[in-house]
C-alpha cells in the first residue's frame, strides 16, 4: 500500500517502512541502542533525501528511547544528576550540530560530511568492539576469569579539576569530561541523525567509569532528550521533519524492540557485543565503499527554493 509523505514529497510503501522500523527496532532492543545509524542510511537508500531522513529519524529515536527509559526508571537504573549534566552540554552540542547541518547543506557538502563521519565513527567503534569481544571470548575459552578493570584505578581524566559527585552511579569525577562527552554526543547526533547510544555507552564506561548498572538507563535519558530537542530544532530551522514518516517508523520500532529485548536477554554479553561490533563495522564499510567507488551518476540535483 502506497502512502504519500507530506514533507519528503514522495509516496512510499507503508509496509516497507513499517518493516524497516520493525527490523531496526529488533536490533535496537537486542543491543540496547537507538539504531539511528542503521535507520538513516536505510531511509536514504529507499530514496528519501538525506536531510529529511536525518531530521525524521530524530523523532523516531525519541520514541524508542522513551520506552527504554521508562523501563530503566522502574528499575531505578538511571543517574538523573549525571544525565542532567550530560544533557546541558548535549543541548548545546545539538544546537551547534543543527547550525552546522544547515551551513553544510547550503555548501553542497552535507552528503560528503555525513558519509565521511559515518565511515570514521562506525569503522573505528565497530573495530574496537570486535577486538574487545574477541579477546573476551578467547579468555573465556582458556578458562581465565574476565579481567575487569578495578573501579579504583585512575586515568588522566580523574586528575581534572571541578570535581562532582554522582550518587546513583557512585562516581566522583570532573565536570569537564562530562561536558565534553555530552556536547560531542549532541553534536554528532544532530548532524548524523543518530542517537549516539553506541558511542555514549563506551565513553561513559571507559572515561567516567560509570558502573554497568546505571550506564544504559542514563544513556537512554540523554538520547531521549537530545533527540527530542533535535526534532524541535530541525523542525524550526529546516522544516524537514516528516511526522508521518516518523510515526510509521515509531510504531514499527517500538514493537520490534520488544522482541529484540527478549532475544538479547538469551545471549551472552560478549557474543552480543561481537555481533553489534560486526554490524557497526559492516555499515561503516558500506559507507566507505560508496565514497571510494565511482558513483553511477556523477551529477546530482539539489532543490534550492521554490518560487
Amino acid at each position: 500500500m502506497q502512502i504519500y509523505l507530506p514533507i519528503a514529497d514522495m509516496p512510499v510503501n507503508i509496509f516497507l517502512v513499517l518493516g524497516m522500523g520493525l527490523a531496526v527496532g529488533f536490533i535496537s532492543g537486542m543491543f540496547g541502542i537507538g539504531g539511528g545509524f542503521l535507520m538513516t542510511p536505510l531511509l536514504i537508500f529507499i530514496g528519501i533525501s538525506p536531510a529529511v531522513a536525518v531530521a525524521s529519524v530524530a523523532s523516531h529515536i525519541s520514541a524508542s528511547s522513551f520506552t527504554g527509559a521508562i523501563t530503566y526508571w522502574r528499575k531505578r537504573a538511571i543517574d538523573v544528576a549525571l544525565a542532567m549534566m550530560l544533557l546541558a552540554a548535549g543541548i548545546l552540542g545539538t544546537a551547534t550540530g543543527v547550525w552546522l547541518f544547515t551551513v553544510l547543506r547550503t555548501m553542497d557538502q552535507l552528503d560528503l560530511v555525513i558519509g565521511l563521519s559515518y565511515v570514521t565513527l562506525l569503522t573505528s567503534v565497530g573495530g574496537m568492539m570486535i577486538r574487545e569481544s574477541v579477546r573476551a571470548e578467547l579468555r573465556a575459552r582458556k578458562g581465565m576469569p574476565a579481567t575487569l578493570r578495578r573501579p579504583g584505578s585512575h586515568s588522566w581524566v580523574h586528575g581534572l579539576p571541578l570535581k562532582m559527585r554522582f550518587k546513583r552511579s557512585k562516581i566522583y569525577v570532573s565536570a569537564i569530561p562530562v561536558w565534553a562527552i555530552g556536547f560531542s554526543i549532541g553534536f554528532v547526533g544532530a548532524i548524523l541523525g543518530i542517537g549516539g547510544g553506541f558511542l555514549l555507552v563506551p565513553m561513559l564506561i571507559y572515561f567516567l567509569r560509570v558502573p554497568t548498572a546505571t550506564v544504559i538507563g542514563t544513556s537512554m535519558v540523554l538520547t531521549l532528550i537530545t533527540m527530542a530537542s533535535a526534532t524541535v530544532m530541525h523542525a524550526v530551522t529546516n522544516h524537514l521533519v516528516d511526522a508521518l514518516l516518523a510515526l510509521i517508523l515509531m510504531v514499527g520500532g517500538v514493537i520490534g524492540a520488544q522482541f529484540g529485548v527478549r532475544t538479547g536477554q538469551r545471549m551472552r554479553g560478549e557474543r552480543l557485543r561481537l555481533l553489534l561490533g560486526l554490524l557497526v563495522f559492516a555499515v561503516g564499510l558500506r559507507f566507505a565503499f560508496e565514497l571510494v567507488v565511482k558513483p553511477e551518476d556523477l551529477y546530482s540535483l539539489r532543490h534550492v527554493r521554490s518560487e
Binding site: 504519500y4 526534532t231 524541535v232 523542525a235 522544516h239 510515526l247 556523477l298 551529477y299 532543490h303
Partner: protein
C-alpha cells in the same frame, strides 16, 4: 485600432484565401489533489481545430505540440570528482527559475514539426526551452549540449518530471485530438500553465493556452502547511507524538 486590425486581417485573408483556424481545448480535470494515496495521475486534454470564420477552409494535415510547465524552482546541479581518493561534489551550477515540471507532447517527434529556426524561436521541445543558469554574476541559457544542462535534463527525466513524447498526442479525426499529460507522484504543488501550438506546413498557425493546478489536500496539506508556517509548534507536536508512542509501547508491553 481594432477596426484597423480587422481590416488588415481581412486583407491578409483575402490575399491568401487559405485556412485560418482556431483551437478549442478542454482539460479532463483542472485541479489535481495530492492526498495520502496520491501516486501520480494522468490527465487528458481534448481539443478540436475549428475554422476561425464560418466556411473558412481547413488544411488536410496538422501537427500539434502541447507544452506543460510546472511551478518555477531554482535547482542546483552538482558534479562529483575524485579528490584524494573519494568522490566529492566539486562543481555546481544553479538553474534559476526553471520549471519543476516540463512536458513537451506532440503527435510526431517535435523536430519534424517545423524547421530548427522556427522551433528555437517558439521554444518548442526541451532542447529549445530556456533553462537559465547562473554563470558568475550573469544568468543565461547555454547551448543544448552543455554538460550541466544535459545532466540536469537527464536527471529530471529520470525523476519523471521532464519528458518529451512524440506519441502523446493523437488525432481522433483530422481535426479532433487528445493529449495525455502524465503527472508523476513527485510533481510539486502549484499551477501548471499549458501552451498548445498548432502547426501546418512547418509554420505555427494557431495557439491557445489552458492551465491546471496541483494542490495538497486534506491531511497532506495540513501537515505540509504546519511544518512550513508553524515550525516550532509542529516540532513540539512531533516530539510529543514520539513520547506518547514510546509511553504507549511501554504500557502495552509491560511484563512486570
Amino acid at each position: 485600432m481594432r477596426r484597423l486590425a480587422f481590416t488588415l486581417l481581412l486583407l491578409v485573408a483575402g490575399a491568401a484565401p487559405a485556412a485560418a483556424e482556431k483551437l478549442v481545448v478542454s482539460l479532463s480535470n483542472h485541479r489535481v489533489a495530492v492526498t495520502s494515496s496520491f501516486t501520480g495521475e494522468e490527465l487528458v486534454l481534448f481539443g478540436t481545430i475549428e475554422p476561425d470564420r464560418p466556411r473558412a477552409a481547413l488544411r488536410s494535415a496538422y501537427d500539434l505540440v502541447v507544452t506543460v510547465t510546472g511551478p518555477k524552482q531554482t535547482l542546483r546541479t552538482r558534479r562529483k570528482e575524485r579528490v584524494l581518493g573519494i568522490w566529492v561534489n566539486t562543481d555546481t551550477r544553479e538553474f534559476v527559475s526553471v520549471p519543476a515540471y516540463l512536458a513537451v507532447l506532440s503527435n510526431q517527434p517535435v523536430n519534424t514539426v517545423a524547421n530548427a529556426e522556427t522551433l528555437r524561436r517558439l521554444q518548442v521541445g526541451i532542447d529549445n526551452f530556456l533553462l537559465p543558469q547562473r554563470i558568475g554574476p550573469d544568468v543565461a541559457d547555454t547551448v543544448p549540449n552543455d554538460p550541466f544542462r544535459t545532466a540536469f535534463v537527464r536527471l529530471q527525466t529520470q525523476y519523471g518530471l521532464y519528458r518529451q513524447s512524440g506519441t502523446a498526442v493523437t488525432f481522433l479525426t483530422p481535426t479532433v485530438f487528445r493529449a495525455t499529460i502524465p503527472l508523476p507522484s513527485n510533481a510539486p504543488t502549484g499551477s501548471y500553465p499549458i501552451d498548445v501550438k498548432l502547426f501546418a506546413d512547418g509554420e505555427m498557425v494557431a495557439r491557445t493556452s489552458s492551465a491546471l493546478e496541483v494542490i495538497k489536500a486534506g491531511f497532506e496539506q495540513f501537515v505540509a502547511e504546519s511544518a512550513r508556517d508553524h515550525g516550532l509548534l509542529y516540532g513540539l507536536a512531533t516530539a510529543m507524538m514520539a513520547l506518547l508512542t514510546g509511553w504507549f509501547a511501554s504500557v502495552v508491553f509491560r511484563r512486570d
